[in-house]
Subunit: 521 residues, 2 copies
């Protein structure tokens, strides 16, 4: 690994901000079966088989199983009380536990998994219990709504029952901070808001995790959106601050903010560098300051922010355009064919503009001047070399690719004026580019762009068509990936490994609370 | 379950005698492969592949494995230090750990196991580790010499290494109590003695366990033999006392001492009743008193002992012969075809005689008289109805079966005089009965009978032919089951589930120290 730059006082400060975790004991709500159904989402349907009160009476022998529904998505620690039945337990009990956010995780066999992310993310355990009756609390945290328990081995003499099973949930989100929506908000938006809040809540631990099932870590792309929702809901602003100091305290070799970082065994930053993600440090700091007016943090982290802009600008070629290449140098969206050049250019301009505003607030004249000039240069270059007047779209890369991502980000970067932006967005729906949107992350930016351009009705109908469809498909937290026309979509080779509670998908709550409150929607 | 009789003060006293466990950190000694070899014991051979110093350098990726030899048999808790290699661990690590007392447990697939004891006794774990580098201590106790570690999943980015792996062994046996053998003992007997001591040591925990892999509990048949070895070695006499009070404190419905008992979650006696095992409470108490002269314990437990004799006598028919039946009413040996009647009759007489000696010591005149008369009655009946003068053997059951077990126990019961007993034993070797011996437990009684009858040389040659052969076949603790002519013998349908460190097999140490010390053997 490359040498990295650690600013230990920043990391130490971040560690003083580790939040309290709120705990709650949650019990399963019913006994279910998971059955194949080609008409159901991803081919699996849940069928309620019994009241949860029947659980304690159910006697299981070798080969038997029971599947529990915990009602909604949970993140926490599982406890099982287990009784021996018919006889004492004259041999250990061997159980298999399978945890699923979604029915597919219970219905399909993890042993058949062939995706390219590690199978170790799939949540199952084989445990052996030496003493019965007894109570077992598993040491790992799980993320699930469904739990299947299979009795692999008892002995010829005894069977088992489960008088009590519960999950001790954990989150650093304080729900008492979340204000109820005012009257006049439609039930549809209330549901969407609630699910967004639950999504964020289940991702809030000692950092803002991207997904509590997978990857369970802090990505700056997710952080930026989580922070926006947080300011409208949980007000865990010290958690945003902690995350900013962690990123600021552990830079990559050449001073870039890393794309993601880990907390354990001790905080460290991953090697992954992404052009857009490093720049988002500036945008996240800007949003944080707007929400908190925390001048001390702004002062301390400003040099790192401005350095990200300088690093971003180094990638501009002699024309003033972001140098393109074939690697995963910039994220924007999960899309194999998406060319990143125009989007990267737009993210650069977007973040330069947030940097400019911060420089102004700080009275940093020199920085203000250089950023102003960079914005002008990058904007002019975008209009000169990427804008295709005939087609009315921005193009990207050597084959002049036209994508949703490029247009959306150019709107957010406000490269053109509001009217032109609005027309560009209208054009997207009239003549949709072949390179479509893939993730809720990019959908977020579409909605943001529509709202920025005064397309509030369109924004709402797009929210309905996307997150609303997820809800119809059974989401009780919003998903990492969703394509209404390809419901098993996964960039990882298997929908089993997708995260079904994912930070970057929680922003309907932000939109609703920021743009749709106090109006009759 | 039937109601049982609990004498809580006895159980409470037993609980005050829970011994201290001695711990030791034991490291593996070499890296090995387990390979198929039809000439090797049970078809599996170990091959040393590398020095243990190489372990820390070995880098394992998904699908890789490493097998460790801990040098000798261990009972304890496993700790693994694990490093990520090449990159940080961006996904959990999933490992399979397979523990084996014997090479067969590593070589064969537990998933193919079809024995009738629970598969849960086979020691394997699948564990998921969320944080690397890290140190993991597994919560369960394992019994093993060999450990295979299979890397089931890492991620595409990282591999793992194991800088340190060790077992923290536990035993309540204090090795400093064990006196070295005097000079003049052959090396062969020294080795046999050492292995017997190690066998007992590995079975000594908070009770005398029958086998630390399986069943991990207190059986009175094993206890009696363990206590005999203990008096010659560890002198953990309070542990014998604890076990006697546990049995005496928790009786079966009709006042019988149970065959086995459990310590957790709270002490309780199993439903299993065995005719011989209940009677052995008397013999074990007798041996304990002989070793300790602990009159208080004798006084307290005497009523339970004498009750076992009364219960045993109730099974005599009008002829004075133990009523036979087809159930597992009496143990004697693991042998499907063995008829138990004559052996049970002999065990009854053997235990009556120990009871008589105790009654005499206690001045219990009434008991003395009834026991004397019972001995006479049972002995006369045995000679009248079971002794076959023509064949020179005791017969058993409706088909007048002749077995080793019946003769051995009749000798130990001293139904005939010493000279006749000696001739009976000689006859066994000249004209061996078809119903042979199966377990070390019965072999113990053969050796004891030979020594009682002055056949010291024969006893020694039989010890060599049996436990000596186990040693040649690789035992570093003595086994539950061993048949030199059928090395995969198991009464449970699979030799994988046999216990390879088993209490009832540890008595060569007792014989050597009691009968062969201070002589040139």
């Amino acid at each position: 690994m490359k040498t990295k730059q650690t600013n230990q006082p920043f990391v130490d400060l971040a560690e003083t901000l580790i939040p309290h975790l709120y705990e709650e004991k949650v019990f399963p709500t019913s006994l279910i079966d998971i059955v194949k159904d080609t008409d159901a989402f991803q081919g699996w349907r849940t069928v309620r088989t019994d009241s949860i009160d029947e659980l304690a009476n159910r006697v299981l022998s070798k080969g038997d199983s029971v599947t529990l529904d915990f009602g909604v998505h949970q993140v926490g620690y599982l406890t099982l009380s287990i009784n021996n039945v018919h006889s004492n337990a004259d041999a250990p009990l061997r159980l298999k536990l399978i945890f699923g956010e979604m029915p597919c995780e219970i219905g399909e066999d993890f042993d058949d998994y062939e995706g390219w992310l590690s199978r170790s993310w799939l949540q199952d355990e084989t445990i052996n219990i030496d003493v019965l009756p007894g109570t077992v609390t598993l040491p790992r945290r799980y993320t699930f709504r469904y739990l299947k328990i299979i009795v692999l081995a008892t002995s010829q003499r005894y069977s088992v029952s489960f008088p009590e099973i519960y999950c001790k949930t954990v989150t650093s989100g304080d729900v008492s901070q979340v204000k109820p929506l005012p009257d006049g908000i439609s039930n549809e938006l209330k549901v969407m808001d609630r699910i967004g809040i639950k999504t964020l809540q289940d991702c809030m631990h000692t950092v803002f995790e991207d997904g509590p099932k997978r990857d369970r870590r802090l990505w700056i792309g997710d952080l930026r959106l989580q922070a926006l929702v947080n300011y409208e809901t949980f007000n865990s602003n010290d958690l945003v601050k902690r995350c900013l100091y962690l990123f600021g305290g552990m830079l990559l070799e050449d001073g870039q903010v890393g794309a993601c970082l880990y907390e354990k065994p001790a905080p460290f930053v991953d090697d992954i560098y992404l052009y857009d993600y490093s720049l988002f440090f500036v945008a996240t700091l800007y949003d944080y300051y707007e929400a908190t007016k925390d001048r001390i943090t702004l002062n301390e982290l400003w040099p790192i922010a401005v350095e990200q802009l300088r690093i971003g600008l180094k990638r501009l070629d002699e024309r003033g355009i972001v140098t393109d290449d074939d690697t995963w140098y910039c994220f924007l969206d999960w899309h194999d064919e998406l060319n990143k050049q125009a989007g990267a250019q737009a993210v650069l301009i977007y973040c330069l503009k947030r940097g400019l505003a911060l420089a102004e607030k700080l009275g940093e004249g020199e920085a203000h001047a250089f950023i102003s000039s960079a914005i002008q240069q990058a904007t002019d270059a975008a209009m000169t070399f990427l804008w295709d007047q005939d087609q009315g779209y921005f193009t990207s890369g050597p084959s002049s690719q036209i994508s949703w991502a490029s247009q959306i980000w150019m709107v957010l970067a406000e490269v053109m004026d509001a009217e032109q932006n609005g027309m560009l967005l209208d054009r997207l729906f009239d003549r949709p580019p072949a390179i479509a949107m893939s993730t809720p992350y990019l959908y977020h930016h579409l909605i943001e762009a529509l709202l920025l351009s005064g397309r509030k009705e369109k924004a709402l109908s797009e929210m309905r068509a996307y997150w609303g469809e997820m809800i119809k498909d059974g989401a009780d937290t919003f998903w990492e990936l969703y394509n209404p026309s390809d419901k098993k979509l996964s960039p990882y080779g298997s929908n089993l490994i997708n995260s079904y509670c994912h930070a970057w998908s929680c922003t309907p709550t932000y939109f609703i609370r920021k743009y749709f409150v106090n109006e009759n929607s």
